[in-house]
C-alpha cells in the first residue's frame, strides 16, 4: 500500500526564492494523482522531492504514515518514468528492463518471470534484443513503462512521460497508462503541463502555479468550479471566456466589458457585491446560438473555424476574444453580427483583485445515460 502525505513542504534554492511554498497534500492509495501546471510552476521539483532525488528544504514527507524525508530513493519503494525515458543506450531492451532488478535480491527465475510478464503486457516480446536507438518513440516509452512494472513498486511517479510523443500516440498511451495503473492497483503521481492529459487521466488533479497550490480536486470539479482565475483559464479547452464586469447598484444589471448588459435579477441574491470590479467567466459551450424565444446579444464574429462536427466561432467582446463552440456546421461569415444567447446561470464570478471564485455555475447539470435493460 502506498499513501503519501505532504506537510508544509517547501523548496528553497540559495536561501532566497521559494520554488515551492508550503505544500499540504494527501495522496490516497491506489489513486491516479495528476500534478499539472505551466513550466516553472514547481511540479517536477515536487515529484522529484517525493522520489528523493531532490532534498526537501522544509516540511515533512510521509509515506504510509512514516516520515521519509531522509530516506534515499532506493528505499522508498517506488518506480519512476522520465520524460526522456532514461533508457540505458548501451543495453538491450531486456537488459534495460532487468537493470533495476539487479540491485534487488531476486532469484533468476523470478526475474525472468517478471520480465516476460512486463514485456508481454507492454507488447515488447519481439523487441527484447533491440537497443533503444533501434526503437521508435512509442516503443521506448513502453520499455520505460515495463521497467516501472517489473519493480512491482506500489508507487509510480511519472514526469511528463508523453510529451516526446506525437499527438496520436499520446492519446493511445494515455488510455494505456491509465488502464495499467488500474490493473496493477498502484498509486500514481503523474506530472504534466498538458491540461487535457490531466483531465482525462487523473482521479484527482492538483493545479500548481508559481510554487503554490491553486486547487486540488476531481477533474470535473476543477472544470466546473475553478477556485480562481488561474485554474479557470488553465483547465478546459478552449479556455474559459473571461470578461471584466460590474454589477449595478440594485444588483439587477451586469455590464460586461462595457458592452453586454445582462439582466440577472432573478438568480443571485445578495451573494454578489455591487459596484465592484468583477471578472465573469463563461465556457465556450455556454455561449449558445440565439433562438427566437430568448434574449439575444449580437456579437461580431472575427474568426470561424469549421471542425466538421462542430463550429468554433470567435467573437469580439470589448477587449476580449470569446470563443463559442456550437455543435454541427454553421455558416457564418467573418464580420457578421451573430445572435448569441447568454444565460446568467452559466456565468462564473471572480473577484478581479484576488482572482478568487465568488460564485460558480449553478449545480446539477450532469446528465445521465439511460440504464438500458437487455
Amino acid at each position: 500500500m502506498s499513501q503519501i502525505e505532504l506537510v508544509k513542504i517547501s523548496k528553497i534554492y540559495q536561501k532566497k526564492q521559494a520554488v515551492l511554498n508550503e505544500i499540504d497534500l494527501t495522496i490516497n492509495e491506489g489513486e491516479f494523482f495528476v500534478l499539472v501546471g505551466p513550466s516553472g510552476s514547481g511540479k517536477s521539483t515536487l515529484l522529484r522531492m517525493i522520489a528523493g532525488l531532490e532534498e526537501i528544504s522544509e516540511g515533512i514527507l510521509k509515506m504510509n504514515g512514516k516520515i521519509v524525508n531522509h530516506i534515499p530513493p532506493k528505499d522508498r519503494n517506488l518506480s519512476m518514468v522520465f520524460q526522456n525515458y532514461a533508457l540505458y543506450p548501451h543495453l538491450s531492451v531486456e537488459q534495460n528492463i532487468l537493470f533495476g532488478l539487479q540491485a534487488k535480491k531476486l532469484k533468476k527465475q523470478e526475474r525472468q518471470r517478471r520480465l516476460y510478464e512486463a514485456a508481454e503486457m507492454m507488447g515488447l516480446i519481439e523487441l527484447l534484443e533491440r537497443k533503444p536507438r533501434e526503437l521508435s518513440g512509442g516503443q521506448r516509452q513502453r520499455v520505460a513503462l515495463a521497467r516501472a512494472i517489473v519493480s512491482q513498486s506500489p508507487l509510480c511517479l511519472m514526469d511528463e512521460p508523453l510529451s516526446n510523443l506525437d499527438a496520436k500516440l499520446r492519446a493511445n498511451m494515455r488510455v494505456e497508462i491509465r488502464r495499467l495503473q488500474k490493473k496493477l492497483g498502484m498509486t500514481m503521481i503523474y506530472v504534466t503541463h498538458d491540461q487535457v492529459e490531466a483531465m482525462t487521466m487523473g482521479d484527482r488533479i492538483m493545479v500548481l502555479n508559481d510554487g503554490k497550490i491553486q486547487q486540488v480536486g476531481k477533474p470535473i470539479t476543477l472544470y466546473n468550479e475553478p477556485a480562481n482565475l488561474f485554474v479557470a483559464s488553465f483547465i478546459g479547452s478552449p479556455k474559459m471566456n473571461l470578461g471584466k464586469a460590474i454589477l449595478s447598484e440594485d444588483g439587477k444589471q451586469l455590464v460586461v466589458e462595457g458592452q453586454l448588459h445582462l439582466d440577472i435579477s432573478s438568480i443571485f441574491g445578495e451573494e454578489l457585491p455591487t459596484n465592484r470590479q468583477l471578472t465573469i467567466g463563461i465556457r465556450a459551450e455556454h455561449l449558445l446560438p440565439g433562438t427566437i424565444e430568448n434574449i439575444n446579444y449580437l456579437l461580431e464574429a472575427v474568426n470561424v473555424e469549421q471542425l466538421g462536427n462542430e463550429t468554433s466561432i470567435a467573437f469580439e467582446v470589448g477587449a476580449e476574444l470569446w470563443t463559442a463552440r456550437w455543435s454541427g456546421q454553421w455558416f457564418i461569415k467573418v464580420g457578421q453580427k451573430v445572435p448569441v444567447q447568454i444565460l446568467p446561470e452559466n456565468l462564473l464570478f471572480f473577484d478581479s483583485e484576488t482572482g478568487n471564485l465568488i460564485h460558480s455555475v449553478s449545480k446539477g447539470r450532469m446528465q445521465e445515460v439511460l440504464t438500458t435493460c437487455v
Binding site: E5, V7, T26, E55, I60, K62, I67, N69, H70, P72
Partner: protein
C-alpha cells in the same frame, strides 16, 4: 485518511532533529565518496606536481650539493646571478627568437593546410590523414629525420644546394643557421596537431553562413576573409597559445640536433635548465631558471583564460 495537524506538530520537532542528523550523515558520506573517486588523482598531483613545484621554488633560494641536498641559503642570489649571466640572457633571447620563428609559421602553414583540406573533394580524408601525420612522429624520430636532412655532406639540403652549385651550409653548426634549422624541425613536428585542431574549428562553422554568402555572390577569398577567419578566431587563439607554450617547453629536438650549440645559439630555456641541473649539478640556479619558465607559462595560460573569453569572437 489524513492525520490531524496537531499530531504532526507534536512529533515534528523531534523528527526534524532526526532528519537533520541523517542529512548531515548523508552529506558526510557524499563527501567521503567524492574524495574516494578523486583521491588517486589528488595524491599523485600532490606528490608529482605540487610538491615538486614548491620544492623547485624552495631550491631556487639555495646552493646545492651534487646529490640535490641544499647547502647554503642564498636568498635571491641565484636569481640575481641568473639575470646577470650572459649565458642565461642569451638563452632567453634564443627562446623568444625560437618562439617568434616557430609560432607564426606553424599557424600559417597549418591554417593553409586546414583550409585546403576542408574542401569537399573526393579522397580528402587521405590528405587529412597525411597532414595530421606528423602528430604521430615523436620528437626523437623527427629530430633524427631532420638530422639527416641537415647533414653537411650526405644531407638532402646540401645535396640540393650542390646540384644548383651553391656552397654547402652548416645547418646545425653555423651560428647563423642553427636556430632556424631547429625551428624548421619544430614547425614540421607541430603542424600535425595544429592542423587537426584548426580543421575541427573549420568544420564546426555553420555551413549556412557560406550558403548565404554564395547566394549573395561572394568570392572564395572574400568568404575566407569575412567568414572563415572571424569564425575560426577562438580556435586560432587556442592554437596560438598552445603552440607558444609548447615552444617554451621544447627540449628533445635540441638534445638530438645541436645539444644547445653552436656557441649556445640554440640553448633554449628547458635545455638550459637540463644542462644546469643534470650536467653541472647546480640545482639551485637550475630551479631559478625553472621558475622563470613557470612564470612565462603561467602568463600564457592566464592570457588564454582571460582574453580567450573576451576579445575573441565566439559563436
Amino acid at each position: 485518511m489524513r492525520m490531524t495537524n496537531s499530531t504532526t506538530n507534536n512529533t515534528s520537532n523531534t523528527h526534524l532533529l532526526e532528519i537533520e542528523q541523517v542529512k548531515k550523515k548523508i552529506r558526510m558520506n557524499n563527501f567521503y565518496k567524492g574524495m574516494l573517486f578523486l583521491l588517486p588523482s589528488i595524491m599523485l598531483f600532490s606528490v608529482f606536481l605540487f610538491y615538486p613545484l614548491f620544492r623547485t621554488i624552495y631550491l631556487s633560494f639555495f646552493l646545492t650539493k651534487a646529490s640535490g641536498d641544499t647547502t647554503i641559503f642564498v636568498g635571491l642570489e641565484n636569481y640575481v646571478n641568473m639575470f646577470a649571466s650572459p649565458l642565461f640572457l642569451k638563452s632567453m633571447k634564443s627562446t623568444f627568437l625560437f618562439v617568434f620563428y616557430t609560432v607564426p609559421t606553424t599557424i600559417l602553414i597549418s591554417l593553409f593546410l586546414a583550409v585546403i583540406a576542408n574542401e569537399k573533394l573526393k579522397g580528402i580524408g587521405f590528405f587529412r590523414t597525411i597532414f595530421s601525420s606528423t602528430m604521430g612522429v615523436s620528437v626523437a624520430a623527427a629530430s633524427v629525420l631532420w638530422l639527416y636532412l641537415f647533414n653537411p655532406t650526405v644531407g638532402l639540403f646540401n645535396q640540393i644546394l650542390d646540384i644548383f652549385g651553391f656552397e654547402a651550409i652548416g645547418w646545425l653548426t653555423d651560428p647563423k643557421w642553427a636556430l632556424l634549422s631547429v625551428s624548421a624541425t619544430t614547425i614540421w613536428m607541430n603542424i600535425g596537431f595544429t592542423f587537426l585542431i584548426l580543421l575541427s574549428g573549420l568544420q564546426s562553422i555553420d555551413s549556412s553562413l557560406y550558403e548565404s554568402a554564395d547566394i549573395e555572390g561572394a568570392g572564395y577569398f572574400y568568404k575566407l576573409r569575412r567568414i572563415t577567419i572571424p569564425m575560426l578566431s577562438p580556435t586560432l587563439f587556442f592554437v596560438i597559445t598552445v603552440t607558444i607554450i609548447n615552444a617554451f617547453q621544447s627540449f628533445g629536438q635540441i638534445d638530438i640536433l645541436t645539444q644547445g650549440g653552436p656557441v649556445n645559439e640554440t640553448n633554449l630555456l628547458v635545455y638550459s635548465i637540463y644542462r644546469e641541473a643534470f650536467v653541472n649539478y647546480r640545482f639551485g640556479s637550475a630551479s631559478a631558471q625553472a621558475i622563470v619558465l613557470f612564470v612565462l607559462i603561467l602568463f600564457m595560460t592566464y592570457l588564454q583564460f582571460k582574453l580567450g573569453e573576451r576579445k575573441v569572437h565566439y559563436q
